[in-house]
């Protein structure tokens, strides 16, 4: 609102490419400082708690195998979840895309005559842009996670999937709360700010009878849903209202209840650097006398099923949304989350977003990485993100090659010529011979090249280039004295 021109766009269909979107952050020292501070704190805590776990690699191995297995048999596990959840009194809905999911949720709210709804933080709802749709449909939406309140009241966009407001510092939070809650004398002490949020929400929790949540895990064996949180706003939303609507990506399913013994050990350690997050809740359909008596689960596809058919890319869906990859990423650390033009930033966003878009948008994201591999190393379910990045880059290139206009693109022309030269030895040597003659024209008497024409000038503008030696390596190798072998 305050700076509409720079307002980040997180809709991949209209977001600018990564290098363009990254510029406002790179030019904003305050934002970079906020991001770096938050990430340093999480990283240090994570490293300490992962190091104390002597079976960490075995947990990763098991976590990876469980998630991969669930995806291999996704259809069967989803049907099992549907049956068990329905048996327990829940209602299961299937949404093929974002528009269907939004409409299902709005229709459910209308059946309840709901004019207001409270929400637990769910990135999936941000993915389908649920809030503006509900508001337009006449339903007031109240986020209840502290970070989400900051974003909602400040008209900000999420920049991280676990701590979505990490780019906002305490004085900015104070300004937002003071303005939107009418608290002029609010201090910028995080305790005071948190207390203000508690007061702001308490009556909403007690009065609004309808809630929306995401899901960390769906349990096929029992039809249960699990939510992992810290503040207790989740428990409020899934205990006090009459009606609960859970929006979950189809990939969130785990075969059995017992599989949580792996997931709950790796998730909090990876996400926030805690041995266990303060509250994890699990519920199964409807329990008479305890919690919401109307319970709906909306299973969202929205591009996920199309990822399954690629054997390399399928691992993307193993993700349990811990955000360890973005915390470890040297690129994310510099650009923050908004540059990724999606609610899923960082390395996982760089592979997930273009695939959810069926490779029709966000094609710059697979390049938003130095391929250093830090993300793979920290991933608790061993998603080989660099491997997927490379595969997606190949897909992007193949797409581009099919576009007619690319035929005369200098880079593609150059690569085609290189392909021709490098695949034939005689052509390579001929080109080398001609190139050496050409280069000599620009080599000074001191053996250095000080200025090159055309594209070469881009190099010599800022630095000199050493002239070529008198022999090539091939020539030297063939002519070297035999006793030196």
């Amino acid at each position: 609102m305050s700076h509409a021109a720079n307002h980040p766009v997180l809709d991949p269909t209209i977001a600018p490419p990564f290098p363009v979107a990254a510029l406002p952050v790179l030019r904003n020292p305050q934002l970079r400082k906020n991001v770096a501070h938050a990430i340093d704190v999480i990283q240090a805590k994570r490293a300490k708690l992962v190091n104390e776990k002597t079976d960490w690699q075995a947990l990763r191995e098991a976590g990876s195998a469980i998630r991969a297995h669930a995806l291999d048999h996704l259809g069967a596990y989803l049907e099992e979840f549907e049956t068990r959840c329905t048996d327990a009194g829940g209602h299961v809905h299937w949404a093929a895309d974002a528009a269907e999911a939004r409409q299902i949720i709005l229709d459910l709210l209308r059946q309840e005559n709901a004019s207001e709804v409270i929400k637990i933080k769910t990135m999936t709802s941000a993915e389908i842009q649920l809030n503006p749709f509900l508001e337009a449909g006449g339903v007031g939406v109240f986020e209840t996670d502290l970070a989400e309140i900051i974003l909602q009241l400040g008209d900000e966009e999420p920049s991280h999937i676990v701590v979505p407001a990490l780019h906002v510092n305490r004085s900015q939070v104070r300004e937002i709360f003071a303005r939107r809650m009418g608290l002029e004398n609010l201090s910028d002490d995080p305790h005071a700010l948190t207390a203000a949020a508690r007061t702001y929400l308490r009556q909403k929790f007690l009065k609004i009878p309808t809630a929306i949540s995401g899901a960390n895990f769906l349990i096929a064996e029992t039809g249960a849903v699990a939510i992992v949180e810290s503040e207790g706003n989740g428990r409020m939303c899934l205990t006090l209202p009459r009606t609960m609507i859970t929006l979950a990506g189809i990939e969130k399913v785990l075969p059995r209840f017992q599989d949580l013994e792996v997931m709950l050990q790796v998730l909090a350690r990876s996400a926030t650097g805690e041995r266990m997050n303060p509250y994890t809740s699990l519920w199964t359909g409807v329990t008479p006398g305890d919690g919401p008596q109307n319970f709906h689960v909306v299973l969202l596809d929205n591009g996920r099923s199309s990822i399954l058919s690629h054997p390399v890319e399928r691992q993307t869906l193993k993700c349990i949304r811990c955000a360890a990859c973005m915390n470890a990423c040297p690129v994310y650390r510099q650009t923050g989350g908004h540059a990724y033009g999606s609610v899923y930033p960082g390395p996982i966003g760089a592979i997930l977003t273009p695939q959810l878009m069926q490779m029709q948008h966000a094609q710059s994201l697979p390049y938003a990485s130095s391929l250093c591999g830090a993300c793979y190393e920290v991933c608790p379910v061993k998603i080989n993100i660099p491997e997927v990045l490379l595969d997606l880059r190949a897909q992007v290139v193949n797409q581009e090659r099919k576009q007619g206009g690319r035929f005369f693109d200098p880079m593609y022309l150059g690569l085609r010529i290189a392909n021709l030269l490098f695949s034939r030895a005689w052509l390579f040597h001929a080109a080398q011979w001609m190139g050496r003659i050409g280069i000599k024209l620009f080599t000074g008497k001191d053996g250095w090249i000080h200025s090159l024409p055309s594209i070469g000038a881009k190099w010599t503008q800022t630095r000199d280039l050493r002239g070529l030696p008198s022999q090539t390596f091939h020539q030297w190798w063939a002519a070297r004295p035999k006793e030196a072998k």
Binding site: L74, A96, E231, P278, L282
Partner: protein, 231 residues
Amino acid sequence: MNEAVQSRERILNRIRIGTGSATQDAAQAAAYAALPRGYIRHGLRSADECLALMIERLREYDAEVVECTPEALADTITAQLAASGKHKFVAPPGVPSEWLVTPAWKITGFECDIDHGLTTAEIEQAEGVMTGAFCGIADSGTIVLHHSAAEGRRVLTLLPDWHLCILRASQVVETLPEYFDRCLQPPALVTWISGPSATADIEMTRIKGVHGPRFLHVILVLDQSERLTLN
């Protein structure tokens, strides 16, 4: 309605194409059984070390912990309530009545409503809540509620600002997998509590107490003889 059925079939069909199968088969069960599970199931600590770890972890979360013998439990509860400075409490119906009746109660003027269908507003009025627990997990300092009659409905341990949880030493396990081993049937409702409600959303500064109870007190009942028979 028809549209909804279509979406279901459409999604399941896409999954079928993507994975090559979508129906349950013998291979699925075999593949599940063969999943690698090389992580630590059983801790190596002695019973005493395990309790010491549980206490250490709880204190790291700023939870208050006191230990007592089974005989001293009622008095310890009274002392904890008195030290809390609060007067109005709630408790689930399955809490043993001997926990709640000691001579000191009348003097100090405690009120304790048993939850035989209290309204949300009534629970919101309570200053504190007292419950049992299903299990304690030492490795992460976690208290697990399965919301049985002694642990109460979920709302009971949510609205009051102060939670006194009575945990028996025989209920404490070392590792998370050991807790799952104690679940003979998958429970329908679970709340895993690891310290009081907290947030770090503002500059990663950990703030205690956002929406859930801000104060967690644990009485650890040293029923070691029971534990010995269990092991």
